[in-house]
Amino acid sequence: MTIDPANWEVALAAIFLVMNGALSLLLDLGFVRQMLVAALRMVVQLALVGLVLKVLIDTQSPSLTALAAAIMVAVAGYEIVSRQENPIRGVWGYGLGAGTMLFGAALVMMFALHVVIRPDPWYDPRYAIPMFGMMLGNGMTGIAIGMNAMTTDVINRREAIEAHLLTGAGRWAALTPSLRRASRTGLIPTINAMAATGVVYLPGMMTGQILAGADPSQAVRYQLLVMLLISGATGLGLVIALLGSVMRLTDSRHRIRLDRIRIAEGG
């Protein structure tokens, strides 16, 4: 038997957020406004996505599904830029983040839908949209962290990189240390999630399935599938984004182009 919580019971869970808010006001910690806005955004966004998913699943329309996916990519691309302290300027910064995230997520999704899950039709929004969302969400975080680590490293180590270039080294050789550091930084959330899953914490998706009455072993299989796909998509998107960043942060004469970075004030 599954227990289906009523709306008022879900709302009751917010009591601890209210306690957090009270603590923030009492101790002047200054996060009450941020937390309130984030909680309201979450409620509105999840309520809307629930409605949208219902429409998509009911209609099974490929064009509506594609439209929903396109909107998700556009918003995630914006988030990639806005989460960076020192983003690459202009359309390159947005295009590189959104494009590589889409490439990684779409490639892995197509594989999952055609080879692993094989729903009918293959674009069945019940499977495609939630999984695409999870891949975009994780890819977005990894790519934003990685690209920011890359630009920050190039800003901080400009003299050392140029010293290497002055020996006759090419841009790829001179930027390899930055590339390595940025790759590791961008993949930390993914690697940590894989390493800690099942021991330190139970993933939200799997827990949600179990709470909704699914068989735990089936929930574990889905969770493994999703984690593997997410890690693959994030790594793929991140590496291509960083390779593109090397190209954009240098020019055809192998010069460092800090003028192409919107450097944070005081940075």
């Binding site: 180590r157 003299e159 050392a160 990189i161 140029e162 010293a163 290497h164 270039l165 002055l166 020996t167 006759g168 080294a169 090419g170 001179a174 240390p177 020019d251 055809s252 004469r253 192998h254 010069r255 460092i256 182009r257 003028d259």
Partner: protein, 221 residues
């Protein structure tokens, strides 16, 4: 064709400069402009040297960086008759060695930056093998400056761009660096050197070029 951040000089200007004028050995610069520089023209032949003088912020370092092709710039730069854009960036920087006033490092240990030839020159400058095994951060400013010069000299470049090369050195090491500079010039290298020490410029026999506000104001071309 315009390459991002690098514009060739107009065809007419290149032809006016002439292949003959560009083909002589040494470095030739015409109308070099960047964010700081405003149309700098000068030439220095192989085996010759010129001193770049001027107040702080006048554009001396920007000039060296532009010649080494580290910053976007416009104008004509040629080396022994070859226009810079026809030379691959790595090859250009191997032929044109630039040593900044405060050299930077990309590897942990000092010696990792130096090949056998550079270690030989470093020994002449008083840098022992044991010292080169240390992390570069543990070296003094003077030791780092000598190591950077040793690496540059060992490459036997066609052009040496030295920005205050002896500012952190004692008299003995300064003299040894000056000896090595003379050897490089005797071997055919063209030298551009920034220095605030008139006596040093005299010892090395360098003709001064004064730069201010990104322009040559005295002693050009």
């Amino acid at each position: 064709m315009t390459i991002a951040g690098f514009r060739r000089a107009p065809y007419r200007q290149r032809m006016a400069d002439g292949p003959d004028s560009a083909s002589s050995s040494g470095l030739r610069i015409a109308g070099l402009s960047s964010a700081v520089l405003k149309g700098v023209s000068l030439s220095v032949g192989g085996g010759e040297g010129r001193a770049i003088t001027g107040p702080s912020g006048s554009g001396k370092t920007s000039l060296f960086r532009a010649i080494a092709d580290l910053d976007p710039n416009e104008g004509t730069v040629s080396l022994s008759g070859e226009f810079r854009e026809s030379v691959a960036p790595g090859d250009w920087r191997r032929r044109v060695a630039y040593v900044p006033a405060e050299p930077a490092w990309w590897l942990t240990h000092a010696g990792d930056h130096a090949d056998a030839a550079a270690r030989d020159v470093a020994a002449r400058l008083g840098l022992s093998s044991a010292l080169l095994e240390k992390p570069v951060k543990s070296l003094s400013t003077g030791e780092r400056q000598r190591l950077a010069l040793a690496i540059a000299f060992a490459r036997k470049p066609e052009v040496l761009l030295l920005d205050e090369p002896t500012s952190a050195l004692d008299e003995d090491n300064r003299d040894e660096v000056e000896t090595l500079i003379r050897e490089q010039m005797a071997g055919g290298a063209a030298l551009l050197m920034a220095s605030h020490d008139p006596a040093q410029l005299e010892r090395l026999g360098l003709q001064p070029v004064r730069i201010d506000g990104g322009r040559i104001v005295e002693g050009a071309p």
